[in-house]
Symmetry: C2
Subunit: 248 residues, 2 copies
Amino acid sequence: MRGVPAHIVVPRTTPQCKVDAVKAYGGQLHFCEPTMEAREALCAQLQSSTGAVLVPPYNYGPVIAGQGTIALEFLEQVPELDALVVPVSGGGMISGIALAAKAIKPGIRVVAAEPCGRNRSPDVALAKLAGWVVPCARTDTIADGLQGRLGDLTWPVVRDKVDAVVVVDEQEIVAAMRLIMERMKLVVEPSGAVGLAAALSPSWGAAAVLRTCRRVGVVLCGGNLDLAAKGFWDLWLPPKQPTEGEQQ
Amino acid sequence: MRGVPAHIVVPRTTPQCKVDAVKAYGGQLHFCEPTMEAREALCAQLQSSTGAVLVPPYNYGPVIAGQGTIALEFLEQVPELDALVVPVSGGGMISGIALAAKAIKPGIRVVAAEPCGRNRSPDVALAKLAGWVVPCARTDTIADGLQGRLGDLTWPVVRDKVDAVVVVDEQEIVAAMRLIMERMKLVVEPSGAVGLAAALSPSWGAAAVLRTCRRVGVVLCGGNLDLAAKGFWDLWLPPKQPTEGEQQ
């Protein structure tokens, strides 16, 4: 809007729809390998060659503070909330929300919703259980926006301010996404549906601290759903895949 | 909500997601053949056997008046609108909107958006051109919510109050639906995207009366998108259909 060039570093596995949207909004895309190391290296290189200011995705005070405004909006609209459910990845959003929500309403529960992944690697749940950030394999999940890792700023907040982590499986994520799209008429990506998946999961009731929560706010975040991506429909339609003959 | 039974008569071709939603909301479904005659016959039969009050879908004063409130909302939020674009089928919604909008702001343009269909049967455009309701084949279109026919209450309003009809093809509908889902993050069914398709169509500029309209309100109506229906994806992915080998 102010004519400042925006360089956007994304992994080469980014959904095409997100790539198209960044281009359409005038961002300059730079692709890296899908690892933290590759991302950080490319960002450093761009900073030194262009003089650009780095805006880290989550482990960064101003970003955490900005995401805290989600809690302000929730509590302004529904002051009687018992809990807020937030999908967790690097922990920026949930840190901001937990800090803001508990400053306003100390009794509110803040719940992290996390995909278990096909490789059973729910790193935030494991970190909370262990009390330290256990090294984990990258979570193998359709919730591809939730593959970040807790940072040195976000982990202490998640450790101290998040009341529970609810872990969901792939089918719970797809079912929640479907419910959101079919009934609420909103497009969310799998990562964005993980909060609702958690609130509807049997694991929710298993956490004693959540059993008494009646009014639950769920953050639906992320709508970069690549409807044209084949992987999505394999999951959406598991029972009856059309055969090649039927498609013609 | 008041415990009054609701009998819902729908054609047997209704998308499964709509059927599921009616059931989940407690409606009692009754299926008929997908013709006006079959629908009216089944409605009459249900009325006589249950004593239920008929709520016709569009050719009915209270329904038209209710849909007029859409115009009130638009003009309340954006008083400077030059035009409103409304998908047209039986003409109930556009009649209500045209009557209400022009009562408040006589200079506003009200534009009908209509699918041409694969059988080139845009009945409203033809009726407006001819000045009478030309008998037409049922429009063969993915916009399956726009296959109604003008009624004796709606036709005079469409004839006298609608400024232009913009006719769109199937690919324009899919492109608009895709834009709405990918950028606005809203789920609309094909019928609901026809208004945006019209506003973005080259045909829009062809209508002299619309060329000066700068601020255009578009009604996005209908979100009963059957994401699991195979026909949808055939249209969504025309360039590269996955082969059976790729799907495994």
